[in-house]
């Protein structure tokens, strides 16, 4: 299967800090990839580079064969790559429904619909329904219908996360990057939330990359795992293999335990 997204040799420095060092990753169409690694390992930097928020110092990113390295985030969104955020980026003073409508408005405008000289109610491209129906439908898919008329800033944490992800679905993305979709949610709820997200997302036929710290969630939902450490990709394999990799165990999964072992060994010596 052809790679829908191809990152080659990505490097990124922030002064003395190396956030990305020779990152290579080819993502296949329709796959579900989990990005794991400790904080500061470079996962969000990777996402920021793919979505154009940061420009890599070296390296190229290709999407469906096209070089998107230098494009602005809004252009990349228009091409079909959407992302959600670690801290949900919502329109605080608007209701959940209005948040969705704002996003749909942009999609309409980018398609040249609903402008100053247009008449009637345009159909949203990709959904073939009027704007308000698209909003209701996506809200329902994510279980957010009851929050429809509540202001975004008063929504509970998990609901904000879901709304943030729901917003990404408006533009019918081909690739979805989810930055810690279940963070801040209790362990019992993580699975149910991921189930709902995956069902809603996969129904649209998107390729998914998600950042996750809970290894059980990763094993359950990812077909492939990219493990980050210190700006490098240290493992690229299916979860069963990747999570057993000694380097991954040391630097990602069991990092804390390893340091504890070292400290105890020093103490005894």
């Amino acid at each position: 299967m052809a790679a829908i997204l191809d990152a080659q040799g990505l490097h990124k420095n922030f002064g003395a800090v190396t956030a990305a060092s020779d990152i290579n990753a080819a993502i296949e169409r329709d796959s579900v990839v989990g990005l794991i690694g400790t904080n500061g390992a470079g996962k969000t930097t990777f996402i920021n580079m793919i979505t154009g928020y940061l420009k890599p110092d070296r390296g190229r990113i290709h999407y469906e064969g096209r070089d998107i390295t230098e494009l602005a985030p809004r252009e990349i969104t228009r091409l079909g790559i959407c992302r959600s955020f670690q801290i949900p980026q919502l329109y605080a003073s608007l209701t959940a429904f209005e948040n969705m409508m704002a996003g749909i408005g942009v999609v309409l405008r980018n398609a040249g619909l609903g402008g100053f000289f247009s008449r009637g109610e345009p159909l949203v491209p990709g959904h073939n329904l009027p704007a308000d129906q698209v909003a209701e439908r996506i809200l329902e898919r994510f279980g957010l219908s009851e929050y429809r008329d509540r202001n975004a800033q008063v929504l509970p944490g998990g609901v904000r996360k879901l709304l943030d992800i729901a917003l990404t679905m408006v533009a019918k993305p081909k690739i979805l990057l989810l930055d810690e979709p279940t963070s801040g949610v209790s362990s019992e709820e993580k699975f149910t939330m991921m189930e709902m997200i995956m069902k809603a997302v996969r129904a649209e036929g998107a390729t998914v990359l998600f950042v996750e710290h809970d290894m059980e969630v990763v094993s359950r939902f990812a077909e492939r795992v990219l493990a980050f450490y210190d700006g490098r990709v240290i493992a690229d394999a299916p979860p069963a293999v990747a999570l057993e990799d000694p380097e991954v165990k040391r630097f990602v999964v069991g990092g804390e335990l390893h340091r504890l072992d070292e400290a105890q060994a020093k103490h005894r010596a």
């Binding site: 969000t44 928020y53 955020f85 670690q86 801290i87 980026q89």
Partner: protein, 298 residues
């Protein structure tokens, strides 16, 4: 060559005046993160208080050499009464609002004060020229300068050095620096931010009042005094960087010298050249010439 020296000296005098006028504004912004339009009101209040009190005391036979202290005293008096009233009475309830809204609130206060000043002091000009003429003048080549201008420069240096010393070497000063860097963390560490806000606002306004008080002997004190000062102070503070004290000094020097040069060489440009510099700085380095790096947002 002589004209060059004139430009330099005039520039320094004007810079000194600008510095005293603007330093309080940048201090208040740095600590409280508010742009205080009412700063111009304190300048005017200082000028009016100084002119009326000094004038009255002189008329009653006060030795003229005391007038320099009286100028300071008047500024102190009027600030200590008015500033806490404003901060505790009105601003205290507004800190949670958007910074533009707070600016508009201070603008409303400025408008109110313009008329309060008229109600208290009337609309006729006040003159208190004795302190200005008392010291005589000195010559540099063909140019004559009143010694009073040296007082102005002296006041600027004292204010600047004093503020610097206070921030570095006093406990209150160090607490202020903490708040300048991060208000939330300071509060979390138990610093009484509310009390510091009161101190800052009073002190910053006092500096404006001192600026007005020491300018009073050189002009006729009329209504509308604060109007031009506030915009010029904005220019100085923006050029140096909002909240930066060395920036205010640099901004004052730049604006002072540029204006002085323009007045001598290109008088038509006198009024707008300062705002041109302000616009250019805003365009290329919006955080001013002394800017701090910004942290990652997402």
């Amino acid at each position: 060559m002589e004209q060059f020296i004139a430009v330099l000296i005039d520039g320094i005098i004007y810079s000194a005046w600008l510095f005293v006028a603007a330093i309080g504004l940048t201090l208040i912004y740095g600590v409280m993160k508010i742009v205080n339009v009412a700063h111009g009101s304190f300048y005017a209040l200082g000028a009016y208080a100084a002119a009326s009190i000094t004038g009255a005391l002189l008329a009653h036979g006060m030795p003229p050499y005391l007038s320099y202290a009286v100028l300071l005293g008047s500024a102190l008096l009027v600030t200590v009464i008015v500033a806490p009233l404003i901060e505790r009475g009105i601003l205290r309830f507004m800190y949670a609002k958007d910074e533009v809204v707070i600016l508009l609130i201070t603008y409303a206060l400025f408008l109110i004060f313009e008329d309060v000043i008229k109600l208290i002091w009337g609309v006729n000009p006040y003159f208190v020229a004795e302190p200005y003429g008392l010291l005589g003048s000195f010559d540099i080549g063909d140019l004559t300068y009143p010694y009073y201008n040296l007082i102005l420069v002296g006041v600027a240096i004292v204010c600047g050095a004093g503020l610097y010393w206070m921030l570095k070497h006093t406990r209150t000063g160090k607490l202020l620096v903490a708040v300048i860097h991060d208000t939330e963390v300071s509060r979390a560490m138990g610093i009484n931010v509310d009390r510091l806000y009161l101190i800052t606002f009073t002190f910053g306004s006092l500096l404006a009042a001192i600026g007005g008080a020491y300018t009073a002997p050189t002009i006729s004190v009329v209504p509308g005094l604060g109007v031009e000062v506030i915009v010029l102070s904005f220019a100085v503070v923006v050029i140096g960087g909002l909240g930066s004290l060395p920036g205010a000094a640099l901004g004052a020097v730049i604006v002072g010298l540029v204006r002085s040069a323009t007045v001598h060489y290109l008088p038509e440009a006198e009024l707008f050249v300062i705002y041109l510099v302000m616009a250019m700085v805003l365009a290329f380095r919006p955080r001013g010439l002394f800017s701090i790096a910004e942290a990652r947002k997402i």
